[in-house]
């Protein structure tokens, strides 16, 4: 047997049988391990056709002509559609700004933009027919960065903008601009003993969810369409699809199919409208499944960013001020760029106390791939830069980087640059203390094999006691490539901490809906929970059942499939679903419980005075007093008649940031995580092996500790990917994507991913259901800068961009 797992600690927890706080197992687990769980790409329908999307080979071009005649003449082809075939005047869609063409009209603005659709009886027939569509393009000059996008005479990506950001942006190729000014950064800078500046860059990261974009559209007899789909938000899809099809929303019936991961990449539409158009045109069910190559073009990515920062500090280690400018590249269409700007600017200071700040963030329109939501958006880019700055300032002051962070760490009550107080626990210094206190992985074991002793981080070679074992190359940088037996390998340790907002911010009406039914089936009380929440793998379905058990005191809970027959649940993003839809499930359960007690009082109230006087609970299938006395069986109270309620639930409202000063109560909640990375670097080849990536995170309340740890480890690993592996490469001249495959876009394998010990802290946020905090995104923030800090510590290099590539280390 191999080494045992590193133990995971849960600091607090109050387990109940299958209720909240317990590591209840997934209800879909059996289906997923037997291969029977139906993902969107697994769907099949008699007589179904396969859809194919023809995409632009150019990043910016005029469409001179399209000839579909040859494609249409192919045997087995049922339909070929272009812009001309769109049935209504609504020919664009978008999450916030409707600027994305359903099919290109006269012009394509990015490599891979959809131009035409084919439906055929075999996917290969559809693909070959697509290749016979003749499109004549006339290439246009591309804009690829701030300089080219805002240069005099630059091509304007979207002429005649009338969106609600158009009026306040300095250039039409800027989607949104958010300045934040607080205090007087200039005056504060004069108090500083040291001033540290830095320029940083973050590459384009891809969500790389494994289940490709896919779905099945089935035309219905009533002229509507049923769409079975992998998405993050059924109702937002429905709202965007219906007008393009010319159908009322209730005739676009959406059901969630199995979703193979999301991470933000399914927040925008991909093949939804296309499949519906083909199905309605042909009168046959149409299935569309992207392959991996197409998937890289079929969804938005994480915004690449350039960030300029200045921090000042006094000799005793207190930060005086911060100035920053963050330029995010949104690519050809807006997607969620405005919200990314809001996060990047409002969280640009990080989890620190800095009263005097001068901040600006913008998102560009360019001909690069469209960018939008990905785990931690806006906050991830900023965290990489401000954490690099923290190390740099600490070094300038000669202070320990963790102590320096702790000295400046925010606490409950600290004001953000937006003037909003952080009104829940903010254990930033404590998380750093915990992650630093975790045991370190053993020193370089491979040295016993006779490798050259490395320089330690301090520069002194050390050789530990010679051991008997031979080095396992699998534990070294380069791994099975057998590129080193220890020579040239140096170890480094780095720390980072981050802050992420939870939920939709800036005044968005961020509600969810839950329908809860309680009834007697076969002599047992059974609860049924129905929401439109997209289960994308995070385990929301597990948690909803736990909440129902806790609130209604039942054992049996059925989770209905998510669809649009129930009200919106909002998006499975922004770490919000356990908070918001979990909150809605609890709220509906509470209302059902009140109905139960009303019914109980009416039926049995005269038999026991406690019905009128005591606090009553539902536990173990019974109505009990808070003292534990049983008043009635739930089965007897319910009788034949079910209680069935569908209710909306909202968290406290937020407000937009002022467009000039950035002030405003913009965020609902914050989530904090800290990481310690230990890396070994082969300095001769520039190869990095992350040895361990420890995380401490405050989750408020772990409703399902097993799932919480899984989220933290998964998020941490995506941060590792951004640090040293993952980047969509775009040709700087043509703006074409160069690596749309898992051969060339590398995500961490089990060999790249180290042990990830996790320390979970639970400090309740009193504003949130059960005190919980959204968990999913925070670990993705600090993972990246911690890994890069460790590489800097090992090599002494400045390393200003991620991902760090071998040539950045070797200088070749």
């Amino acid at each position: 047997m191999g080494t045992t797992g590193i133990p995971t600690r849960i600091t607090q927890g109050t387990p109940t049988k299958g209720g909240i706080g317990e590591s209840t197992l997934r209800p879909d687990g059996t289906l997923k391990v037997t291969g029977e769980f139906a993902y969107a790409s697994d769907l099949w329908h008699e007589d179904m056709l396969w859809g194919f999307t023809l995409r632009s080979p150019y990043a910016h071009a005029e469409i001179v002509s399209i000839d579909i005649s040859q494609a249409l003449a192919q045997p087995g082809v049922y339909a070929v559609l272009t812009y001309e075939d769109l049935p209504t005047d609504v020919k664009h869609y978008g999450l916030e700004i409707q600027d994305t063409p359903v099919l290109a009209h006269g012009r394509v603005r990015h490599h891979g933009e959809p131009v035409a659709l084919v439906a055929a009886d075999h996917p290969e027939t559809a693909r070959r027919a697509g290749a016979k569509i003749r499109v004549e393009y006339a290439e246009l000059p591309v804009v690829t960065d701030e300089a080219s996008a805002t240069a005099p005479g630059a091509p304007i990506l979207h002429e005649g903008r009338d969106d609600h950001h158009a009026g306040h942006v300095p250039h039409p190729n800027i989607v949104h601009r958010q300045p934040i000014v607080r205090g007087d950064a200039e005056a504060a800078a004069r108090r500083a003993d040291v001033i540290v500046t830095g320029e940083y860059e973050v590459g384009i990261q891809d969500q790389a969810f494994l289940g490709p974009e896919s779905g099945l559209a089935v035309p219905a007899e009533d002229g509507g369409v049923d769409l079975y789909i992998a998405t993050q938000w059924l109702h937002a899809d429905q709202r965007q699809i219906a007008p393009v099809l010319g159908l009322p929303e209730d005739k676009v019936r959406m059901t969630l199919s199995g979703v193979g991961g999301a991470f933000g990449g399914r927040e925008d539409l991909s093949m939804q409208i296309h499949a519906c158009l083909l199905a309605l045109r042909t009168g046959k069910p149409v299935k569309m499944v992207y392959n991996r190559f197409e998937s890289f073009f079929g969804h938005v990515h994480r915004h690449p960013a350039k960030l300029w920062y200045e921090h000042g500090a006094t000799r005793d280690g207190k930060l005086t001020h911060m100035k920053c400018r963050i330029v995010l590249d949104g690519g050809a269409y807006a997607s969620s760029s405005p919200a990314v700007v809001g996060n990047a600017s409002s969280l640009s200071v990080g989890p620190y106390v800095i009263e005097d700040v001068d901040i600006e963030a913008i998102a560009l329109y360019t001909n690069n791939p469209p960018c939008g939501a990905m785990r931690g958006f806006g906050a991830v880019q900023a965290c990489f830069a401000y954490e690099a700055q923290m190390d740099k300032v600490a070094a300038e002051l000669g202070m320990d980087p963790v102590e320096f962070r702790q000295l400046n760490a925010m606490t409950q009550g600290t004001l953000l640059p937006t003037g909003q107080a952080v009104d829940a626990p903010a254990p930033v210094a404590e998380l750093l203390r915990r992650v630093k206190a975790m045991p370190m992985p053993p020193e370089q074991q491979w040295l016993s094999a006779g490798g050259t002793p490395p320089r330690s981080a301090g520069g002194t070679p050390t050789r530990p006691e010679a051991g008997g074992e031979t080095a396992d190359v699998r534990a070294l940088p380069g791994g099975l490539s057998n590129t080193t037996h220890g020579e040239g390998v140096v170890r480094g340790v780095g720390y980072a901490v981050g802050i992420k907002n939870v939920g939709f911010s800036e005044g968005f009406d961020d509600y969810s809906t839950a329908r809860v039914r309680l009834e007697v089936i076969a002599g047992e009380p059974v609860a049924t929970v129905h929401t439109a929440m997209a289960e994308v793998g995070q385990g929301g379905v597990t948690v909803h059942a736990q909440i129902a058990r806790t609130e209604l005191g039942v054992t049996q809970v059925t989770i209905n499939p998510a669809d649009t027959q129930v009200g919106s649940a909002g998006s499975t993003s922004a770490s919000r679903q356990t908070y918001v839809t979990g909150g809605a499930v609890r709220h509906s359960c509470e209302a059902v419980r009140e109905k139960v007690l009303e019914r109980g009082r009416a039926k049995f109230g005269t038999y026991h005075p406690a019905w009128a006087t005591a606090e009553l609970l539902l536990e173990g299938g019974k109505v009990v007093t808070d003292g534990g006395e049983v008043l009635a069986d739930l089965v007897d109270v319910l009788g034949e008649e079910a209680i069935d309620l569908e209710l909306e639930w909202r968290h406290r409202p937020t407000e937009p940031f002022d467009l000039r000063t950035g002030q405003g109560f913009g965020h609902v909640q914050y989530s904090f995580a800290a990481h310690r990375a230990v890396v070994e670097v082969d300095t001769e080849l520039g190869l990095v092996k992350v040895i361990e990536l420890a995380c401490a995170q405050d989750v408020g309340k772990a409703l399902n500790p097993l799932s919480v740890v899984g989220q933290i480890q998964g998020g941490t690993t995506q941060g590792l990917g951004l640090a040293v592996m993952e980047e969509i490469l775009v040709d700087p001249v043509t703006a074409k994507v160069r690596n749309p495959s898992f051969t060339d876009y590398l995500i961490p394998t089990i060999l790249d991913t180290p042990p990830i010990p996790v320390d979970v802290l639970e400090l309740a946020d009193d504003h949130a259901p059960y005190g919980l905090r959204g968990v999913g995104e925070a670990p993705t923030l600090s993972s990246t800068p911690a890994v890069v800090a460790a590489i800097r510590a090992a090599t002494g290099l400045a390393l200003k961009r991620v991902p760090v590539r071998p040539e950045h280390i070797t200088g070749t």
């Binding site: 047997m1 797992g5 687990g29 291969g35 029977e36 494994l210």
Partner: protein, 188 residues
């Protein structure tokens, strides 16, 4: 063309197979066995891993015609495959490494709590190794094959055996836990 092969112990025929179709496509779209997944169809992610005459392969890289008269085990047949191995009636440890002859009784069945799972399947659930689950079938087939030839794998062995299977959700920690757990249970 027609392809005749054995899938999860049962003889199967697929008609009208286009020569360019992969084994993955035929399993998913012609055999009604969508358990093997299509995450990349480029041989990079391992989500389509099946056993071909006992050897784990990416079924997206195998032409269906190459499978003529050969034996396939997919995730749908994993429980029976593992059962045949432990009961000693199969070809456990043989060159083919399968107990296909003994797995004839396999058939698709509705999922309920009484479903019999292989040790590695149960361990994936118990350890929290399943999130979105899209990588899970391929990982299960690969991990089961590892435990078949190495009952006491070290962590380095597990990482090496599963290095061809991408997972985007879990960070692999719980997958390692699951394989360790299955190995311990197998020993017990």
């Amino acid at each position: 063309m027609r392809v005749t092969f054995t899938v999860n112990g049962r003889p199967q025929e697929a008609d009208d197979v286009w020569e360019g179709e992969s084994l993955l496509y035929v399993l998913r779209e012609r055999m009604g066995l969508p358990g093997s997944k299509n995450a990349c169809e480029q041989g990079e992610c391992g989500s389509c891993t099946v056993r071909l005459d006992g050897v784990p392969v990416c079924s997206c890289l195998v032409a269906a015609g190459q499978c003529q008269d050969r034996e396939i085990v997919t995730v749908e047949g994993l429980a029976e495959h593992a059962k045949a191995r432990t009961c000693g009636t199969g070809a456990c440890g043989s060159a083919k490494g399968t107990g296909l002859d003994e797995a004839q009784q396999w058939q698709a069945r509705p999922t309920d709590e009484s479903v019999e799972l292989s040790p590695i399947q149960q361990a994936f659930i118990d350890a929290g190794a399943v999130q979105c689950g899209f990588c899970t079938p391929g990982l299960l087939v690969a991990a089961d094959e590892l435990l078949e030839r190495n009952a006491e794998p070290t962590d380095a062995d597990i990482r090496e055996a599963l290095s061809g299977n991408l997972c985007r959700c879990t960070g692999y920690e719980k997958i390692l836990d699951a394989v360790r757990l299955a190995a311990v249970r197998q020993e017990a």
